[in-house]
């Protein structure tokens, strides 16, 4: 029995690994078909991820918003909701962090947490709307979150122009005291944009895991996610839990925005289209099996691939979109893991 359990966990890990390998192989085949040199391509990719201290720094930098976006999606998934609105939550979180980071003058020890919390709250509010509508009006959260994305896009742009405009389509920069950027981290990674946000992201992942798996609230959230009727029957408030779930998920999304606002960019631009990070979060959550630690690993993979894609294009002339294709295929393979699972389970049964 112990062995069986062990096997199950093993399979859960094996599948994304297999999927990643298959995705990379498919990527190589596509490069070959496209007349590019896969060896050169992957070499450049490797260098783009690990080739220099800066590459490593940039990979880790790219990870933090991805982890948080992945947590936002994964948390909602675990509680039976599909939060396709991380993109919007990220944008409002980004704006809120920049606003607090710019407008206040405080010592770092207060300023940074405050700006981060502001981002979380903004994201939470953005998650609250679909949560409320789902709980009280049974409105499909997917459609509301899609709409909220657009509202976030236009409202943040407008707010920057009205209140934070520093010219050239961007907001003022955050104060030094609110910045997550670090001379030290930049110097050890030869001037990458690596910042302390990664710590925030990892803490958030631990919080998600602990909250869901170890607390009574998490028990309720999971129960409501899996079976609303039984949850109501057992005395849980389905409505409150749906709302809470969207709020927490949105807060993670908002935090992802703080990574950009206080870390990578230190300001916010007037965006006319989405950043894509929120949607990448869906992929990250899926590959990470909605598990907090899986999400960190998946974010490392996608963050690395994304930051290295330009390098691949620069050195091996392979269009960086190849990486998008590889990512898509990895998701496909993970999603279609049923077949792999069946085969493995059968093997296991026969071996017993």
């Amino acid at each position: 029995m112990q062995r069986l359990l062990h096997n199950d966990k093993f399979i859960n890990i094996l599948i994304p690994v297999l999927a990643t390998i298959l995705g990379m192989i498919a990527g190589a085949i596509i490069m070959l078909l496209g007349g590019y040199d896969p060896v050169k391509g992957y070499e450049a990719l490797w260098n783009g991820v690990f080739g220099s201290p800066r590459a490593i720094g940039e990979t880790i930098r790219a990870m933090s918003p991805l982890i948080l976006a992945g947590l936002a999606v994964g948390f909602a998934f675990k509680t039976g909701l599909f939060n396709i609105g991380v993109e919007g939550q990220l944008l409002v979180g980004w704006l809120a962090s920049v606003w607090v980071g710019y407008a206040l003058n405080l010592p770092s020890i207060i300023h940074i947490p405050l700006a981060i919390i502001a981002a979380a709250i903004a994201g939470a509010i953005w998650g609250l709307v679909p949560g409320l509508l789902k709980a009280y009006f049974k409105v499909h959260e997917v459609i509301v979150t899609i709409m909220m994305n657009y509202i976030a896009l236009y409202v943040t742009a407008d707010l920057i122009k009205r209140f934070l405009y520093a010219g050239n389509e961007k907001s003022f920069k955050v104060q030094e005291s609110a910045s997550l950027a670090s001379e030290f981290l930049a110097s050890i990674t030869s001037n990458s944009r690596l910042h302390y946000g990664i710590i925030v992201a990892i803490i958030a992942a631990i919080i998600m895991w602990y909250l869901l798996e170890r607390t009574t609230k998490g028990f309720e959230l999971r129960a409501v996610g899996l079976n609303q009727h039984a949850s109501a029957y057992s005395g849980m408030s389905v409505k409150k839990n749906i709302i809470l779930s969207m709020v927490i998920s949105g807060a993670f999304g908002g935090l992802a925005g703080a990574m950009e606002g206080l870390g990578t960019f230190q300001n916010m631009t007037v965006l006319s289209s989405f950043t894509g990070t929120g949607f990448d979060g869906i992929a990250v959550a899926l590959l990470g099996a909605n598990n907090a630690f899986g999400i960190i690993v998946a974010a490392a993979l996608f963050g690395g691939l994304n930051t290295a894609a330009p390098q691949m294009s620069f050195n091996a002339n392979v269009p960086p979109e190849l990486i998008d294709i590889v990512i898509a295929l990895i998701i496909f393979f993970v999603a279609s893991s049923y077949i792999i699972r069946v085969l493995l389970t059968r093997l296991r049964k026969e071996g017993k």
């Binding site: 050239n168 389509e169 006319s272 950043t275």
Partner: protein, 347 residues
């Protein structure tokens, strides 16, 4: 050139005969528009190609571009060039202001050209970095001239302006254009609207449609890729017998108006000239870092497009007249809403 067949057509506006080969590398980082946006980025790339071909450089080695897929790629792209031994990295557009500043500070021995913008600090004070050359244009001057053309050609006495995003840069286009129109005939009504995006042709189409529907017969666009939507709408209308026109921007957009022939004229902004000039100077050891190089009518870098088939002789002469007035300083073309308001009051 090296005879790379798959290369961009229409870039051989320079001499075909490579002169002496030099050891020089120049890179261009575009915004998300890409080097064939029929507009700003393309123009910059054409300038670099001309330079590269004249100097016998190989594309991809001696000169190349990186298109940014997203905002977060500006810095990696700039860094890519700066760290890979490129002598000059050109940043196309004011959106790259911050990234250029960051990268230039981090890599002091790399040289950058920032087009359309200066660097500034928190308090709006201009910052000069020795390894950044700032290039700006007097777009308002050129816009004034096409405004004159519009005023002389409108039959409905109503013209329109479609801007990319509401920003100080595009305001220069708008203010100059309106000033030019009013200079000819203060009675002409001008409607202006911004797409709030340089790459949303669909939205621009709708805006243009509503303008044309309200009797506007000439629209001047300063909207980058979105401007294609204005052309689409004008061509549709012309095909249906409506007498409408577009004034192009940045490049000679006569081709974009064909076959319906809707391009009245274009306000050209010779980004290619500027890029070429900057590369030449840098190559000559004369990198104009730490200052602003301004290109205006005087430098032949802004003005009316060479294709003038849709303008009457009279119009062309009138434009020349105004050109002189601007050159002589008789007319001070407004660049901002405030300056325009003042200008309008003085009429």
């Amino acid at each position: 050139g090296t005879g790379d067949e798959q290369e961009n057509a229409g870039t051989d506006n320079g001499g075909d005969t490579p002169a002496e080969t030099v050891d020089f590398k120049a890179g261009l980082v575009t915004d998300t528009g890409g080097v064939d946006d029929k507009s700003f980025n393309q123009s910059a790339w054409e300038g670099l190609v001309k330079f590269g071909e004249e100097r016998g450089l190989t594309e991809g080695e001696g000169y190349r571009y990186l298109q940014s897929g997203a905002e977060s790629e500006y810095i990696p792209n700039l860094t890519q060039f700066a760290e890979n031994g490129f002598d000059l990295t050109i940043a196309a557009g004011f959106l790259l202001e911050d990234p250029v500043q960051t990268t230039a500070e981090q890599i002091p021995d790399a040289q950058f050209v920032l087009i359309d913008s200066l660097l500034s600090d928190e308090n709006w004070n201009t910052v000069w970095l020795d390894n950044v050359a700032n290039v700006t244009f007097k777009e308002h001057q050129g816009s004034f001239l096409v405004g004159v053309a519009a005023a002389l050609h409108t039959k409905t006495n109503k013209v329109g302006f479609v801007g990319g995003v509401d920003s100080p840069l595009i305001k220069k286009f708008e203010s100059g254009f309106k000033a030019g129109v009013k200079a000819v005939n203060p009675e002409i009504e001008i409607v202006a609207q911004y797409v709030e995006d340089f790459n949303d042709a669909a939205k621009a189409t709708t805006i243009a449609s509503s303008m044309y529907e309200q009797q506007v017969d000439i629209i001047y666009h300063a909207a980058g890729g979105s401007g294609n939507g204005v052309f689409t709408e004008a061509k549709n209308r012309k095909a249906n017998g409506q007498d409408v026109w577009v004034i192009g921007v940045d490049r000679d957009q006569h081709e974009e108006g064909m076959p319906e022939n809707v391009t009245l004229t274009s306000m050209i902004k010779r980004v290619d000239v500027a890029v070429y000039e900057m590369a030449q100077q840098t190559l000559g050891g004369d990198f104009p870092g730490g200052k602003e190089t301004v290109f205006g009518i005087e430098e032949g870098a802004v003005g009316i497009a060479p294709t003038t088939t849709n303008l009457t002789e009279d119009t062309i002469n009138k434009i020349k007249e105004y050109e002189q007035k601007i050159l002589s300083g008789e007319i001070e073309v407004p660049q901002t809403d405030e300056e325009y308001a003042e200008y309008e009051g003085s009429l």
